[in-house]
Amino acid sequence: MSVVSTTSVDGIDPDRAIAVRRRRPRLLPYALLAPSLLFLALFTYLPVVRVAVEALYDKPHGTGAAISYVGLGNYAKVLADPAFQKAALNNLIYAVGVLVPTLVLALAFALAVQRSTRFAGVLRTVFFLPSLVPLVAAASLFFFIFLPGIGLLDYYLAKLGLHGPNWLGDSDIALWSVIGLTVWKNAGYYMLFYIAGLQNVPRDTVEAAMIDGANAWQRLRFVILPALAPTTAFVTVIALIQLLTSVDHVIVLTRGGPSNATNLLLYYIFQSAHENFEYGKAAAATLISVAILLAISFGSLRVMERGARGHG
């Protein structure tokens, strides 16, 4: 803000200001935005239009096949597809199942590492490192960790006298194994936002609560958590968008199986388009997921605004 108030625009000689302004052609702003707008149009705006139009048609795979107008037929087909229903339900379980433990761990990690000691520094690195590696590499590691019998998990469970289930092969367990991998991968990333958020928690309030005799848990529950509400709202939104749009680990580890137990929306789209060549279905499912993404984003704008007002 101080930059705005100290700028010399108001103090400048009017003739000079006009001279400065005259040097800028009126079309310059649009010319500067043009390169970005070109690529945004090609790969963000037009695809939505394209997919909305193409979802209305059925185009069987193969050359020479006739394209036919089917109206909302593709949406009906997708919504009636048991695989889609399963993918949508899975994605809901996956989103909630990842989000809750990730937020709790991210905050716990942030509280643990906010001191500037060497130990805290090492912890910060360890917790953050998983979010820096490719999701594919994480999947490769967990491919071995989850391996029945000789994998990392079963090997050490056996030393404790325990016998693990078939982590990726059992359709009741597989989605939770994928959830576990994702929690490991993401918690450290969201920790960073809580570290930043904790720096904005007013010290005075925390100290006042201590003088009033609030214990650590009460300080967390009644002072720190309310102050972190905007951070939590924000992390929730970016986490939800991410949980709807990354399926690299599903592709490497399970291919949506066993029997669609780990099928997620984007994987369903990928499979329809890339493996089954059902383009109309893929287009309709894409538009459904675009609608969900926009609903999350616009819904959250309201929530975050309200949160900001409540704290402002």
Binding site: V126, P134, A137, S140, F143, V206, V252
Partner: protein, 314 residues
């Protein structure tokens, strides 16, 4: 010095009592009160530190296994392959096998081309757009800004199906530019550069403008040198994102000569399933992860700041 530092850092810990309160405590005469304080000051931190160490070990164990297994000789047998204890006779055999069987050298080159190509074009597009939004007044500025931000919600992975059709239409299917194209415009980068430019004083560019410098000279010679921290932050986020990307290149690329590291690693993992060459898989995974992990450990502060900013985009 080494002994004093941790203690002083400890007493200033955010959860602990701040300065003025400390003196109030030490005024308390009872011994029991003092020993209770001492208990809270020493026992709890010890328990928490032990708990944290355990969680950190659990968190690091996948990486520890990768390191140990990738240097383990092949003859070690697969029964103890999961052991986290390092082998007495480390070997580079697994890395040689991985490099040979997976053509990782080629994947490195392709990945670097994609990452550098995306970043180079992005630097131009986000600097120009960021400058326009930060410094110029024009009709429709707010609407256009929101139109840019739409890309933060409609992230490219959600639009893989129509975007693949567009890439085919443009004749870029199975080419590296096809992998890069959807990322040439970046809403996050534009937003970051706008914020960076807004924080710079206007005096220098006004002086340059009065001296007759054209707009491109003002951006190139005056603003960008001062905006370097913003560009570096953006570069770190962009490089990380595209080094790690998988789904989109998987859809665009079919010729193995164009494979990137992540695609190579995925194929490699599938291959390892049959051959049971876990050491080679660990070595391959390490080869893919190592560059970013090493850069992160070397430039931790910068990485952390960049990623925190990457969150502020919303």
């Amino acid at each position: 010095m080494g002994k004093i530092l941790p203690d002083s850092a400890h007493s200033h810990a955010p959860g602990g009592p701040p300065g003025p309160l400390m003196s109030a405590h030490s005024d308390a005469p009872e011994r029991t009160w003092r020993s209770a304080v001492r208990l809270e000051k020493h026992l709890w931190p010890a328990i928490i530190a032990a708990l944290l160490s355990a969680v950190a070990f659990l968190w690091a164990s996948p990486f520890l296994w990768t390191l140990v297994a990738s240097f383990r000789p092949e003859g070690a047998g697969s029964a103890d392959m999961a052991s986290l204890l390092p082998d007495l006779h480390p070997t580079l055999e697994n890395f040689r096998n991985a490099l040979e069987s997976g053509s990782f050298g080629l994947y490195y080159v392709n990945t670097i081309i994609v990452v550098a190509g995306v970043l180079a074009v992005q630097c131009v597009t986000v600097s120009l757009a960021g400058y326009a939004f930060a410094r110029l007044r024009f009709r429709g500025r707010d609407v256009l800004f929101y139109a840019f931000l739409l890309q933060l919600m409609l992230v490219p992975p959600a639009l893989i199906v129509p975007n693949l059709r567009t890439v085919v239409d443009l004749g870029l299917y199975d080419t590296l530019p096809g992998v890069m194209a959807p990322y040439f415009a970046s809403a996050f980068g534009t937003f970051l550069m706008r914020q960076t430019f807004l924080a710079l004083p206007r005096d220098f560019e006004e002086a340059a403008a009065i001296d007759g410098a054209p707009w491109w000279a003002i951006i190139w010679y005056v603003l960008l040198p001062m905006a370097k921290p913003g560009l570096v932050a953006f570069a770190i986020v962009s490089i990380t994102a595209h080094w790690n990307e998988f789904l989109w290149p998987l859809m665009v690329i079919s010729d193995p000569a164009n494979h990137t590291l992540t695609i190579g690693l995925a194929a490699f993992t599938r291959g390892a399933e049959g051959g049971k060459e876990w050491g080679v898989l660990a070595a391959g995974t390490l080869l893919v992860m190592a560059p970013l992990a090493v850069a992160f450990i070397a430039f931790q502060r910068r990485f952390v700041d960049s990623f925190v900013f990457s969150g502020v985009k919303g």
